[in-house]
């Protein structure tokens, strides 16, 4: 990687080691991902250098594996439901933090945002105790409640950031023109928060699809995908997991690209 520095950047303290450091970090970050993908095509299983006998067998085996696909469906179900809960409570929570004053607001802020930074095990355990105390049978529903609750923090931070950028006179103009609070919310506030909400939804979706620490304690009979993978890992390594991971990776990549296209298209219009 050669350094192409213009006049302005030359004034910045730099070192010729920096690009090499960057290369090392990127190699470190991508090594497992590349290994994962390469060995999903490796005929003689995971491990063993060099990879040999390129094959699609693992993918064939994967597509015939009903347990995996059931867990994928479960995970999708959970992710959509958790997304609905997180947005339904996270958007009002952000609005409340932005524009209402009430006793205990500081505690409320801290509590809402806590799951973002708290190790999942604590959230998972405490919810397990709650459901146990309330005699709630563990199932996908308890996982939905767990994910939904933990991920309100994501919706709240994203939407709150969006609200900071929202021009308050937009809403005043709407009220002034005869729209009541409810109409103003739907016609002005929400459309202006569109990007933050889509961003939050995508983030919640992927985090829920990947979540394992909370699910670990709240799981009933039906497995989510990470728990299904976890169960198999404990039984031993199988390239099927490489195959499903590769597929999910490609889907996520497509999602990111779509999201950036969407934002690049929408953003210029939002700048008045």
């Amino acid at each position: 990687m050669e350094l192409s520095m213009n006049q302005r950047e030359r004034t910045v303290p730099t070192s010729r080691w920096l690009p090499w450091h960057a290369i090392v970090v990127f190699a470190f970050l991508y090594l497992p991902i590349v290994t994962l993908i390469v060995y999903s095509f490796n005929g003689s299983g995971v491990g063993g250098f060099p990879p040999r006998d390129l094959t699609l067998n693992w993918y064939r085996q994967l597509f015939a594996d009903d347990a995996i696909w059931t867990s994928v469906l479960n995970s999708l179900l959970v992710a959509f439901a958790a997304m609905a809960i997180s947005l339904a409570f996270g958007i009002p929570a952000a609005l409340a933090l932005d524009r209402a004053n009430f006793p205990g607001k500081a505690l409320f802020r801290r509590l809402v945002l806590l799951p973002l930074i708290l190790p999942g095990i604590i959230t998972g355990l405490s919810l397990l105790m709650l459901f146990q105390a309330g005699n709630v049978k563990l199932s996908l529903l308890t996982i939905v409640l767990g994910h939904g609750t933990a991920l309100i923090s994501v919706a709240t931070t994203e939407v709150f950031a969006g609200l900071q950028k929202l021009d308050r006179t937009q809403e005043e103009a709407s009220l002034d023109l005869g729209a009541n609070y409810w109409q103003t919310f739907w016609r002005v506030t929400l459309p202006n928060l569109r990007l933050s909400i889509i961003g939050a939804a995508l983030l919640i979706f992927t985090l829920s699809m990947d979540e394992i620490a909370v699910s670990f304690f709240l799981i009933g009979r039906d497995n989510t995908l990470p728990l299904e993978i976890w169960g198999r890992l404990r039984r031993g390594i199988t390239p099927e997991i490489n195959a499903i991971s590769t597929i999910i990776f490609i889907f996520s990549l497509a999602a990111i690209v779509t999201w950036y296209r969407l934002r690049a298209k929408a953003e210029p219009e939002l700048i008045l």
Binding site: E9, T11, P13, T14, L18, P19, H21, A22, V25, F26, F28, L29, I33, L36, V46, G47, G48, F49, A88, F89, P92, L95, R99, A100, F102, F108, L111, V112, L114, I117, L118, P119, G120, I121, I122, S126, M129, L130, A133, L145, T149, E171, Y181, T206, D210, I212, A213, F216, P226, I229, W230, L233, I237, I241, S245, F249, S252, L253, A255, Y260
Partner: protein, 282 residues
Amino acid sequence: MFSRAYRAAITVPPLVWVAVFLLLPYALLFCYSFWSVSSSQEIVHSWTLDNYRQLLRVNVYWQTLLRSMWIAARVTIFSLLLGYPLAYYLSFCAGKRKDLLYQLVIIPLWVSYLVRAYAWKTILGSDGVLNTLLQYVHLTSHPLDFLLYSPFAVVLTLTHIYTPFTFLPIYAALEHIPRNLVEASHDLGASPFQTFWRVIFPLSIPGVLAGATFAFVLSLGDFLAPLLLGGPSGIMISNIVVSLFGAAYNWPLGAAISFCMLALVLALLSLSESLEKKWSFR
């Protein structure tokens, strides 16, 4: 400008939800930590400090907690050593490639945590990619067995997972530094080295603190990577909690450990918050 009804409508539902699904469970966790289990495996709802006493008396608990903190500290340091120069390079030197490289740092975050830990396992195992590669090029004749099932494997994997997380706030902090400050520093006769240590680094401290807190707290509470890659010597505090809630069936003791972790996390959070406030000048 907002009516009372409007404020109530946006405040009450999240408040109720948070009270039921966050405040109540944490309170329950606190209560459990003062209860006990009878010999017939039933929860005894009478208050006792026995669980906390046991934590102090039984070596394995506090030793594991210390080891977890040591592992988390190493993860934090390595993440900073990898993340800070990378963030600095992207923010100040990468020029037009900045956005692309930024995306390249983010993309690994979209690969499942579990899958990345698993990938490291396939790399580090005794017949894994690394060992077979080393033998293939005749650097070693036997597989190196310290690679997997060791604290080393746990630290390596967690560093891999939390480096992007430490990178993000540091990068954001660096991006917020007005570039004319750097020019002003040069104009006033500071060398590049002095400019970095006297202007850029102090202004990026809030980002460093945020990233470090994140890496430390989340790796401290991790239980999957140790279970998958840690072996007996890589056991962390959360693994003990998991077993207390599972096979060992001692929820109150598990709750006491969890509550200590919760308190530790909250203390760290407020410490880092007050430090961040001290180091932010806006």
